[in-house]
């Protein structure tokens, strides 16, 4: 009998599917896993990371943003996506508008307190537009975050979050007519007072 050439692949796929489904099944049995999305917003101080080049130009400012979070079939991981807006000013005329957009995995630290601690990592893209040059671009970003929150009732959670963005500009080319031009990356910190809502209780 001719053996199907898909046989081994199907077997592997089936095994993988089992690895994925079985823990879910276990969770469903033990913790009644179900979709629990959250929608949140934050505002607070935003700043270039102290000591980095941009602190020569830009000052600490206020920013704010939105995020959406959902649990995935895991005890400790969630998926988060968010966007925010920051407008950096300076004592001179330099200004910077920044809209980072990211996706991240959020790990709930196994600390058994009424507070929930989450560490986050992800990537995305950052729209930037400066003044006075008016140059604008979407730049790739890397994201790290930390969050501490507690529930205030069944719907609302209140917390604090810190976000770090690494904005990568050095993959671009310096202008050809300026031999002294140096390329820089950006490092930004956001500190936010946050509130999020459990959309599905």
């Amino acid at each position: 009998m001719r053996q199907s050439r898909f046989g081994p692949k199907v077997a592997v796929a089936f095994s993988l599917a089992l690895c994925w489904v079985l823990p879910i099944a276990a969770q469903v049995e033990t913790e009644e896993w179900r979709f629990r999305p959250q929608l949140g917003l934050w505002f607070g101080p935003v700043t270039p990371v102290p000591g980095t080049h941009l602190t020569r130009i830009l000052e600490t400012s206020l920013g704010g943003g939105l995020f959406f979070r959902m649990n995935i079939p895991s005890n400790n991981l969630r998926f988060e996506t968010g966007a925010s807006y920051s407008y950096y000013t300076s004592p001179t005329i330099a200004r910077l508008h920044s809209i980072p957009v990211y996706g991240a995995l959020s790990y709930i630290l196994p600390i058994h307190l009424p507070l929930t601690f989450q560490a986050k990592g992800g990537f995305g893209s950052n729209f930037l537009r400066n003044y006075p040059e008016g140059s604008r671009n979407w730049l790739p970003l890397g994201y790290l975050g930390f969050e501490a929150s507690f529930p205030a009732g069944k719907v609302v959670n209140i917390g604090l979050r810190i976000d770090y963005y690494f904005v990568y500009e050095q993959h671009l080319r310096p202008p050809p007519n300026n031999p002294n031009y140096r390329l820089y990356n950006g490092h930004f910190l956001n500190f936010g007072l946050m509130v999020n809502f459990n959309l599905n209780r």
């Binding site: 005329i93 006075p132 671009n137 979407w138 202008p175």
Partner: protein, 434 residues
């Protein structure tokens, strides 16, 4: 499939960058260099020339002084002695200059109530201290902030080609208004005398006048306060805060090609030994301040003696060094004279009351860093001075020389191209300054 590919490529562009624009690096790299020069010349300035002396001080005494300051007095000898007098030792001049900031704008001035950042571009807000030395009148103290800024070498550069003023880039386009905010402009030596011209302190005459600079006392006199108002004027807007012009033609190109914003203040070789002997008082002071080429200094007038405004001039221009040309004269002019240019649309006239767009000393023959365009070319000479016989508040008696080039000789109109040198025969710089 095509749609999917479009979506994917849009996503990739969003992540990797749509263009090669550099929003972060552009903030940190300067396309502009702000150069502040303390000279009439934009390139190759004179060294320090001997100081002119106000025409009221002559070897036979100070004209109309009361009490009389005679020919043999300490004051006259201190100023005019042929080998030790202040007039022949310009290298002993000291400057202590404190600049708050430089601003640029489009318009004819801030409207009342308009916020400052709405009108002015505050692109150079770093306070700059320039000082000849770091010594103070206070024992054991130095001018610490000026020393920390290396203000002595900055002052040297100010008088020899310009120093780079810390600044950020400005938006491209046209500007017409630029102002320099002087907090202090202290000069030394300033010497106090009794009313009849006798030294107050014969052993250290140059330690009799004290001014404040960099939070300390220094020997000298703050002449910024004397330059704030014109004769007879009590202007609400002081002339040194800012020292400004609203008729400049400053064009900033878009892009990353480096350019220079050159700001010139005519300080070097625009200094004169002046005297104050206020009527009714019993004291006299000699000090160094800008030449009274525009209005005779009313040295005995209690009110107008301290109103010497308008004698300090400034101008500004932009150029891209990589796209500039030069003008070459066939021969040098007489020492003390200048060569200068203006844009073709602007004519200099005698008496010359403005700084040329670019200039060099008369003993040099080349004006450099000129953007392509048409220029009026001039030789500028010192043929007149504002005599003490002038009507008060005016300058209608003008026999003699004072160091300021009031006289203009037009050499013709010439075209300058990028990277080339345009020749100008000196013989064509006609008539008025032979």
């Amino acid at each position: 499939m095509v749609k999917l590919r479009n979506i994917l490529s849009f996503g990739a562009l969003a992540v990797l960058g749509c263009t090669n624009e550099l929003p972060l690096s552009d903030l940190l790299n300067n396309t502009m260099t702000l150069k502040l020069l303390g000279t009439y010349e934009s390139n190759d300035p004179y060294g320090w020339l001997n100081l002119p002396v106000d025409d009221v001080i002559t070897t036979s005494g100070v004209a109309s002084s009361d009490p009389a300051i005679g020919g043999g007095s300490d004051l006259v000898n201190y100023v005019l002695n042929a080998s030790t007098g202040l007039s022949v030792r310009p290298n002993d001049l000291k400057f202590y200059i404190d600049i708050a900031e430089i601003r640029i704008a489009r318009g004819q001035g801030k409207a009342p109530g308009q916020p400052i950042p709405e009108y002015w571009s505050q692109f150079a807000i770093s306070r700059q201290l320039l000082c000849s030395d770091y010594a103070t009148a206070e024992p054991g103290r130095i001018l610490q902030n000026c020393a920390d800024q290396n203000g002595s070498s900055k002052l040297h550069e100010f008088f020899n080609g310009g120093f780079t003023y810390p600044a950020v880039d400005i938006e491209h386009g046209n500007y017409n208004h630029l102002g320099i905010y002087f907090r202090r402009f202290v000069t030394a030596p300033a010497v106090g005398f009794l009313g009849n011209g006798t030294f107050i302190n014969a052993t250290a005459p140059e330690r009799t006048m004290v001014a404040t600079f960099d939070n300390r006392s220094v020997y000298g006199m703050d002449v910024a306060s004397l330059l704030q108002n014109n004769y007879g004027e009590a202007a609400a807007e002081p002339r040194m805060f800012p020292l400004q012009r609203k008729d400049l033609k400053l064009f900033v190109e878009a892009g990353h090609e480096p350019y220079v914003l050159e700001v010139r203040v005519f300080v070097k070789n625009n200094m004169m030994v002046h005297i104050l002997q206020p009527a009714g008082g019993n004291a006299a002071v000699t000090y160094v301040a800008p030449i009274d080429w525009n209005t005779n200094h009313a040295y005995r007038d209690l009110f107008n003696g301290e109103r010497q405004g308008g004698s300090l001039l400034m101008t500004a221009r932009t150029y891209q060094p990589a796209k500039s040309g030069a003008i070459q004269f066939s021969a040098p002019a007489t020492a003390g004279e200048y060569f200068g240019v203006t844009e073709a649309a602007t004519m200099l006239t005698t008496p010359n009351m403005v700084l040329p767009l670019a200039a060099t000393r008369g003993t040099n023959t080349r004006i450099t860093n000129l953007p392509p365009g048409n220029y009026n070319v001039y030789r500028l000479c010192d043929k007149t001075r504002c005599s003490n016989a002038s009507t008060p508040g005016g300058c209608d008696q003008a026999a003699g020389q004072d160091g300021y080039p009031e006289t203009v000789a037009f050499c013709g109109q010439y075209t300058v191209s990028s990277g080339t040198t345009t020749n100008v025969p000196l013989a064509l710089c006609s008539s008025a300054c032979p």
